[in-house]
Amino acid sequence: MSNDILLEVKGLKTHFPLHEGVVKAVDGLDLAIKRGSTLGLVGESGCGKSVTAFSILQIVGRPGRIVEGQILFQRQVQCEEGVFQMSEIIDLAALNPRGPQMRAIRGSEIAMIFQEPMTSLSVMHTIGFQIVEAILLHRHISQREAREMAIKMLRRVGLPKPAEWFDAYPFQLSGGMRQRAMIAMALVCQPSLLIADEPTTALDVTIQAQILELMRELQREEGMAVMLITHDMGVVAEMCDEVAVMYLGEVVEYGDVDSVFHNPLHPYTKALLHSIPRLGGSKEKELEPIEGMVPDALNRPSGCPFHPRCAAMSSRACAEVHPSMVRMEDGQTVRCVLYEHVGEPMI
């Protein structure tokens, strides 16, 4: 693992054994996030984006569990002298979800912003209390210092009059303010990786613009890496350096943002890009929806999971063989039979 990779997910499988069968929410996922960069994770709902995030933090709800794979996290260990830095690689998937090591990382080195700011903040506690709680879990400082730290952070995320809002309950805040409080809580321990699960989906465009701008600014200052989970291709194009397109629990295409948007390889990526109306686009052209919908998780199609909806389905092979990931010349990787002979197979 090279030094600039912060997190590498290898062959991750998170399954949910139910009475009706096993739901393979994440099934053989490979990902890498570079230090300080932004990775976009896109796909339709039900393709396993959120479960991937939960797996990294080891907060998958029961009965789900990680059955296979590695989540390698390269952490910087500050030595006593403070100057010399050592890096250490830990496999998060192997840690006990309730163990002290995982609890020390969760919320501190890897933090998460959840989708719904109303449901993920406690309605019973003030936002100040919740932020202070997060600080005291990971830092050995006094209550008063923690309070000051929280107020400073609230100011950083652009909450007006942070000292007054410190004692406010989430219901007293507007959607945008709640999301700011959420971001403050996530960033207060200066994580090296921030996972943002649909951070702006519930917000208006104008508020969305404020939050995206804020996230970009904070990322620049803190130098943290961001994993941005969204289904909004516009947000991906604006924010990300690299993009991973997910379909039914696996990555079907991966590359830097410019190549994925301007030279999409996988038929699913192409279809996704064709199905969105573009501002300023011509009206005469009808949108090309992807036929059908994401298949039932219990009933995965054979072969390539996308083949029943695929416009480019060419051969019998699509229905029979599960394609493997290949690397193209420019570094983009794709999982489709169309490219199996063009690209170089990945080990």
Binding site: E44, V235, F261
Partner: protein, 349 residues
């Protein structure tokens, strides 16, 4: 707006004049009226037959309330809603009582925002879609079933779906059921409230295409309420922008998107993330939140967030006025400002 008498033009199906919908906020032991929330305040609009009027704005700006006034879920506080009925009658919907409204109920229909909460979980699709037919005593029994089957087929569902309950459907299918329920009475005007907001991108395109083909086939007029500007650009012929209960700009779609005349429209357009990494641009980020409609700022409601605001904006409330080509805008400085709209994007991929 030009139409003060209403419906002089043959093509106009609905003309709204100075519509107000104020909700009283009660307070205290005696339930005295504390203040009014002006959800819709002095809105005038014209809808032409067979066209789609897009209504955009941030949440809480009164889009849904306006839609609900048109189908008369609400009794408006003041104003007129002139409607040209199928038989040629011209009526003012705002004045009619429940009984008088009945003949027009089936001509004006609404589809609701959330496909999850707007379908009763204890009714089968047949009952949900058939209920309007039963209530309006149009048909029952075998005939009702046939009509439900036909309309389900038209919206892309199968006949055997009739016996199922809403929980068995995905979001897109539920939205289709909602559309079927609105269409079963063969309406002329449909208020579509955030019809695709709760759906995935790929399914969104399916529903948008369906709505367009239904419009062609049944000569429907849509009021398409949405906060998603790229969807509205795709489907609407004219667009009205609302801010805190008032209209701030109305124009033909491409005119509004390419040459916005109101600073709010400009900011909205600039805030939409563009699905092209090469188009990353400096966005206009509006500061602060949308004001409380119960306590709006004086003067132009937008002035606290407007980057072009001057002295006059703090006191004078601008009126809607025509600045040429049917482009209507409520800004004192509409002619002076040169605002930027969207630049055409090439299709990629």
């Amino acid at each position: 707006m030009s139409a003060t008498i209403g419906l002089q033009n043959e093509q106009d199906i609905l003309v709204i004049n100075n519509l107000r919908m104020h909700f009283a906020v009660q307070h205290g032991f005696l339930r005295g009226v504390h203040h009014y929330v002006k959800a819709v305040d002095d809105v005038s609009l014209v809808m032409r037959r067979g066209e789609t009027l897009g209504l955009v704005g941030e949440s809480g700006c009164g889009k849904t309330t306006l839609g609900r006034c048109i189908v008369r879920i609400y009794q408006p506080t003041a104003g007129e809603i002139f409607y040209r009925a199928a038989n040629g009658d011209r009526v003012n919907l705002a004045q009619l009582d429940r009984k008088e409204l009945r003949p027009y109920r089936h001509e004006l229909r609404m589809t609701f925002q959330d496909p999850y909460s707007s379908l009763c979980p204890r009714m089968t699709v047949r009952d949900i879609v058939g209920e309007p037919l039963r209530i309006n005593r149009i048909c029952q029994g075998r005939e009702l079933e046939d009509r439900v089957a036909t309309v389900l087929q038209r919206v892309g569902l199968r006949q055997e779906h009739m016996r199922r309950y809403p929980h068995a459907f995905s979001g897109g299918q539920r939205q289709r059921v909602g559309i079927a329920r609105a269409l079963v009475l063969e309406p002329r005007l449909v208020v579509a409230d955030e019809a695709v907001s709760a759906l995935d991108v790929s399914v969104r395109a399916q529903i948008l295409n369906l709505m367009q083909s239904l419009q062609r086939d049944f000569d429907l007029t849509y009021l398409f309420i949405s906060h998603d500007l790229s969807v509205v650009e795709y489907i609407a012929d004219h667009v009205a922008v609302m801010y805190v209960g008032k209209l701030v700009e109305v124009a033909e779609t491409s005119e509004l998107y390419h040459h916005p005349k109101h600073p709010y429209t400009e900011a909205l357009l600039s805030a939409v993330p563009k699905p092209d990494p090469r188009m990353r641009s400096k966005r206009i980020v509006l500061q602060g939140d949308i004001p409380d409609p119960g306590n709006p700022p004086p003067g132009c409601y937008f002035h606290p967030r407007c980057r072009y605001a001057r002295e006059r904006c703090h006191e004078d409330t601008p009126e809607l006025r025509d600045v040429g080509n049917g482009h209507i805008v409520a800004c004192h400085f509409a002619e002076e400002l040169s605002l930027s709209g969207v630049t055409a994007l090439a299709r990629t991929g």
